[in-house]
C-alpha cells in the first residue's frame, strides 16, 4: 500500500473537471463557486476532499449553509474530520457505522464551536451586518455532507450522508439510487453547535455490486433530470456552465468514482442542428431549425440568460418577446440524445424587438388645498343661508313640538356636516370582491366531485372534505419545489376520513401537501391504481360558487386529523363520484 494521496479543492478558486485513473478505480472531480462569489472573489462554501492509496478511497463532499455563520468554515472543517475518521475506521455494518459516526459528529462540535467563536469578522462591515453576523455566530455554522469509503481489501462500500447533496449509484444494469429516495432533505444538516440536525443516513454494500457512483452538491441539481448515466467530460462541463448562468447559481462540487481500470463506456454526441432561422411574429419570435438524428429534445440558449428546452424532438419553438432582455442578441441551439448534448449550432442574430408600450401615466389630480385658504364661490353663500334657515326651523319645531302636534320621531334630524371620509359603497360587511382582474384558474376536463359528497369542516383552512377510495393509489404528478419529495399516496387504513384544503388562491384549484408536516397548501392527485388509467381524477374540490348556499357543518364532531384520513369506500346510496 502506497502513501495516501490527498486531493483537496481550494474553496477560493475553480477546479476544472479533473480525471485520475488507478489500477482498480478511477475518479473525476470538479468545483466552481457561484457566479456571485466569482464576481466578488469570495470563497465558495462547498468543500471536497479525497484520500486514496490505490486500495482504499475515502471522500467527503460538503455544502455549507450560506445562511449560517460562514458556511465555508463548517464545510471545510467537517470534510477534513470525516475523511480522517473514515480512513482510520475498520469496516462496519450499517448499524455500527451509524452509531459510531453519530457519536463522532457529536464529539467534534466542541472543536467546531471554538473555531466559530474565534473567527474574526472583517472590521470593515457595517454595524447592521456585524449585528447580523453575531446573530448567526450564536446559531453556529452548518453544512450538509456526503462521505464514503471504498475499501478494496474487503470489498466494502460504506456511505453516510446528511442533507440535500446528491448521491447516485449505478450497477451494471443501471441506476440504483431509488433506494435512497426520501433521504436527501434540505432541512437536515450538521451544525457546529448542535451536531446532527435531522437523521443521519448510512448504507453499506459490497463494492463489486457498484459500477460507479456520483456525488454532487445541490448547485448541480440540474444533473438530477439531465443525466441518467455516466457522461462525457464535455457534457459535464457544459452542464456546469449552464448551471452557473442561471440567476440562482450556487457553488458546485462534483465527484464520480468508477469501480474499474478504465472509464465507463460513453455514448456519442448527437450532431449539430443547422439552418437556424428566426422570424418575428406579432408578439413572439418563431424559431425553426433543421434537426438531427437521434435527438430527443433541443436546448435553446441566448448569449445572456435565456435557456429553454423543447419537450420533444420538435424543430421549432415560439418564444414571446418579453422573455428576452436587452442583453440577448443571439440564439444558439443544440440537440440532446441519451443524456449527451451535441455541439452548439451557429448562432442566429436576434432581430430588434419592440420595446413594450407602457401605459400612459394618469393626469395628476388637482392638489388638495387647505380649507382656510380657499375662497368660496358666490353660490355657496346661498346654500349656507338655506341651511341656516332649515336649522333654525328645525330648532323652532323641536322646541314647540307639542304645540305643533309633532312627535320626536317625525322631527327632522340635524344633519352633520358631510364627512370627508370615504364610505364603503357596498355597506355592511359584505364579502368583498378580490381586487383586480384576477383570472380564475383553468378547469381541467376531469370529473368533478359534486358537493353532495363534500362536507364543510370546522377545521381551519378546510373548506370541503371529500372521500377518496381506500386501497387506491394516487400519484402527485405535479413537480413543484414544495412537493418534490412526495409523488404518490396510498391510503391504507380503512375508516379514515380525508380532507382536502381548498386552495382558493388566484391561480389554481390544485391542492398540495408535504410529508411529515401538518397538511396545508394544495396538491394534485391522480389515481393510478387499481385502474391503470392516468386520468379520471376528481381534482377540482372546493371553489364553491358564491351564489350557492354554504354547506352547513355536520352535527357530528370531526376529529382533527393528525395528517389526513380516508373515508371507507362510499356505498351506492351516497352516490360514488369517483
Amino acid at each position: 500500500m502506497s502513501n495516501p494521496t490527498v486531493i483537496r479543492i481550494d474553496q477560493r478558486t475553480e477546479t476544472p473537471v479533473t480525471d485520475l485513473q488507478r489500477k482498480r478505480y478511477g475518479l473525476r472531480y470538479a468545483y466552481a463557486r457561484s457566479s456571485d462569489s466569482q464576481s466578488t472573489d469570495d470563497p465558495g462554501q462547498d468543500y471536497l476532499v479525497v484520500v486514496e492509496d490505490g486500495d482504499k478511497l475515502v471522500f467527503a463532499l460538503c455544502d455549507g449553509v450560506s445562511q449560517s455563520f460562514y458556511g465555508d468554515l463548517s464545510a471545510r472543517f467537517l470534510g477534513e474530520e470525516l475523511v480522517k475518521w473514515f480512513w482510520q475506521q475498520p469496516t462496519k455494518d450499517s448499524a455500527s457505522l451509524k452509531t459510531s459516526l453519530a457519536d463522532q459528529l457529536s464529539a467534534i462540535t466542541t472543536t467546531a464551536s471554538r473555531l466559530v467563536d474565534q473567527y474574526q469578522i472583517p472590521p470593515d462591515v457595517s454595524p447592521m451586518v456585524k449585528d447580523v453576523l453575531e446573530q448567526k455566530r450564536k446559531l453556529g455554522s452548518e453544512t450538509t455532507f456526503i462521505t464514503g469509503c471504498l475499501n478494496y481489501s474487503d470489498n466494502s462500500l460504506s456511505l453516510a450522508w446528511l442533507g440535500d447533496s446528491r448521491l447516485r449509484l449505478w450497477n451494471r444494469r443501471g441506476e440504483v439510487s431509488g433506494k435512497f429516495s426520501q433521504t436527501f432533505n434540505t432541512a437536515e444538516r450538521w451544525s457546529s453547535l448542535k451536531g446532527i440536525i435531522g437523521e443521519l443516513h448510512v448504507a453499506t454494500l459490497p463494492l463489486n455490486q457498484i459500477e460507479y457512483l456520483m456525488v454532487y452538491s445541490d448547485g448541480l441539481a440540474v444533473l438530477d433530470e439531465t443525466i441518467q448515466h455516466h457522461v462525457r467530460t464535455e457534457t459535464l462541463i457544459s452542464i456546469m456552465a449552464t448551471a452557473q448562468r442561471m440567476p440562482q447559481s450556487d457553488d458546485i462540487s462534483f465527484l464520480q468514482v468508477w469501480n474499474s481500470p478504465s472509464r465507463p463506456k460513453e455514448k456519442p454526441a448527437p450532431g449539430v442542428p443547422t439552418n437556424l432561422k428566426i422570424d418575428k411574429g406579432k408578439d413572439r419570435l418563431l424559431l425553426a431549425w433543421k434537426g438531427v438524428r437521434r435527438a430527443e429534445y433541443y436546448e435553446i440558449q441566448s448569449n445572456h440568460l435565456l435557456n429553454r428546452r423543447t419537450s420533444s424532438d420538435q424543430t421549432s419553438m415560439e418564444i414571446p418577446f418579453d422573455n428576452f432582455s436587452e442583453e440577448d442578441t443571439a440564439i444558439f441551439i443544440r440537440a440532446w440524445s441519451d443524456s449527451e448534448p451535441g455541439p452548439w449550432s451557429q448562432s442566429a442574430a436576434l432581430p430588434s424587438l419592440p420595446k413594450p408600450i407602457a401605459p400612459p401615466l394618469p393626469p395628476k389630480p388637482r392638489p388638495v388645498q387647505p380649507v382656510q385658504s380657499q375662497s368660496l364661490p358666490p353660490w355657496a353663500g346661498i346654500l349656507i343661508g338655506l341651511g341656516a334657515l332649515i336649522l333654525i326651523s328645525s330648532v323652532v319645531m323641536f322646541v314647540f313640538r307639542d304645540r305643533l302636534g309633532a312627535t320626536t320621531d317625525e322631527v327632522g334630524v340635524i344633519e352633520d356636516a358631510p364627512s370627508t371620509a370615504p364610505r364603503n359603497e357596498t355597506g355592511g360587511d359584505a364579502l368583498v370582491q378580490t381586487p383586480g382582474d384576477i383570472s380564475l384558474p383553468t378547469k381541467t376536463p376531469l370529473p368533478i366531485i359534486t358537493r353532495m359528497n363534500c362536507e364543510r369542516s370546522d377545521l381551519p383552512n378546510v373548506i370541503c372534505g371529500c372521500p377518496i377510495r381506500g386501497g387506491d393509489t394516487y400519484a402527485n404528478p405535479v413537480d413543484t419545489p414544495d412537493s418534490e419529495k412526495v409523488d404518490y399516496v396510498t391510503p391504507s387504513e380503512p375508516g379514515e376520513t380525508c380532507y382536502f384544503f381548498d386552495a382558493r388562491n388566484n391561480s389554481s384549484t390544485w391542492l398540495r401537501f408535504a410529508p411529515g408536516q401538518e397538511y396545508q397548501g394544495w396538491f394534485q392527485l391522480e389515481r393510478i391504481n387499481p385502474e391503470p388509467s392516468y386520468i379520471q381524477l376528481p381534482v377540482e374540490i372546493g371553489m364553491p360558487d358564491e351564489s350557492e348556499p354554504v354547506v352547513q357543518p355536520t352535527q357530528e364532531k370531526i376529529r382533527k386529523p393528525k395528517f389526513w384520513q380516508i373515508t371507507p369506500t362510499p356505498t351506492e346510496e351516497t352516490g360514488e363520484q369517483i
Binding site: Q45, M128, V132, S181, Q182, T444, A475, Y488, S508, Y534
Partner: protein, 277 residues
C-alpha cells in the same frame, strides 16, 4: 397510509402523467437572487397621529423597530460569509402632506445595510393618494426592467384615514401592473383599534384577514379591498418565521400590537429566495 416517492431522479414518468393536464404556471415563484432581486417599496404614514402610544412606545417607534427588524432579516437572508448579496432592492417613502424619498431612489439591501434604518419624526396630515402616486411613478419607470424578477411589493403602513383625494383608484392601477411573475402586490398595515372585534391576537396562531372576516370600520374594509391576496409562496416563507396565515388571507395586517406590526413587515419580505434556510 404510505407516502412514497417515485423515481426521484426520473422525471419521465411525471412528464407523461401531466401531459394531458392543463395546469396554470404558479405566479410569485421567481426566487429573489442577485441577478433577479425583489423590489420592495415601503410607504410610511408619518402623520401627527403616529405619536400616539402602542404597546408602551409611540406608533412611530413601533413601526421603525419593526422595519429595522425586517431589514436585518433581509440582510440575514442575503449574507453569504460577510458579503451581502443584492437579493432585495428597497425604496422607502414617508408621507404626510408631502412625500419624502428616504433613500433617494431604490437601493440594494447591502446599500441599505450600510445606511441603516432612517429616523423619522411625525408631521401633519395623511395624503395617501399623493404617496401612492409617487409609488406608481416609480413602478412605471421600473416595471419593464423587472421581467424575470419577482413581482414587486408595496408595503403601506398607515394609522388613519386619508385626507385629500381617495387613494383607491391609484392603488388599483398599481395592482394591475404586471411582471412575468405576477401582478404588483400591495400590502396594508393598518395601525388602529377599530379593525377587528378582538383586542388581542397571537400572531403565531392567527390565520389572517380573510374575505369573510368581519371588520369594524368602513375604512378597514376599504383597505382590505386594496390589499392583494397572499401568494402561496409567501405563505410558505411566513411559515418558516412561525406565522400560519391562511390561503385566502389578504395582505393586510391590523397593527393593534407591536407583534402584529412586526408580522406585517415580515410579510413584506416573504418573497421566496434560493438556498438553504
Amino acid at each position: 397510509m404510505v407516502i412514497g416517492e417515485q423515481g426521484q431522479f426520473g422525471a419521465a414518468k411525471q412528464s407523461q402523467l401531466i401531459h394531458n393536464l392543463q395546469v396554470n404556471p404558479m405566479p410569485y415563484e421567481i426566487l429573489a437572487t442577485s441577478k433577479t432581486p425583489a423590489l420592495i417599496i415601503y410607504l410610511l404614514d408619518v402623520s401627527a397621529s403616529m405619536k400616539k402610544p402602542l404597546g408602551g412606545k409611540s406608533r412611530m417607534e413601533v413601526v421603525m423597530d419593526a422595519l429595522g427588524a425586517a431589514l436585518r432579516q433581509m440582510v440575514f437572508r442575503s449574507t453569504k460569509g460577510s458579503r451581502v448579496a443584492p437579493r432585495y432592492r428597497i425604496a422607502m417613502y414617508a408621507y404626510s402632506d408631502h412625500v419624502y424619498d428616504l433613500l433617494n431612489g431604490i437601493k440594494t439591501v447591502n446599500q441599505v445595510a450600510q445606511l441603516g434604518v432612517p429616523q423619522l419624526s411625525t408631521m401633519r396630515s395623511t395624503d395617501t393618494a399623493l404617496a401612492f402616486e409617487q409609488v406608481e411613478k416609480l413602478l412605471y419607470n421600473e416595471i419593464h426592467n423587472l421581467q424575470g424578477s419577482p413581482a414587486p411589493l408595496v408595503c403601506h403602513m398607515t394609522d388613519g384615514e386619508f385626507t385629500g383625494a381617495d387613494p383607491e383608484p391609484v392603488v388599483r392601477r398599481i395592482m394591475q401592473m404586471e411582471t412575468s411573475d405576477g401582478k404588483v402586490l400591495v400590502e396594508n398595515i393598518f395601525i388602529s383599534d377599530d379593525i377587528l372585534a378582538e383586542s388581542f391576537i397571537d400572531p403565531h396562531q392567527w390565520s389572517g384577514i380573510l374575505p369573510t372576516t368581519r371588520l369594524s370600520s368602513q375604512y378597514a374594509q376599504k383597505l382590505r379591498s386594496i390589499s392583494s391576496p397572499l401568494p402561496h409562496s409567501y405563505q410558505v416563507m411566513m411559515r418558516e418565521s412561525g406565522y400560519f396565515i391562511a390561503d385566502q388571507a389578504h395582505m393586510m395586517l391590523p397593527g393593534i400590537s407591536p407583534a402584529l406590526v412586526e408580522m406585517g413587515f415580515v410579510m413584506s419580505m416573504s418573497t421566496p429566495i434560493g438556498g438553504r434556510q
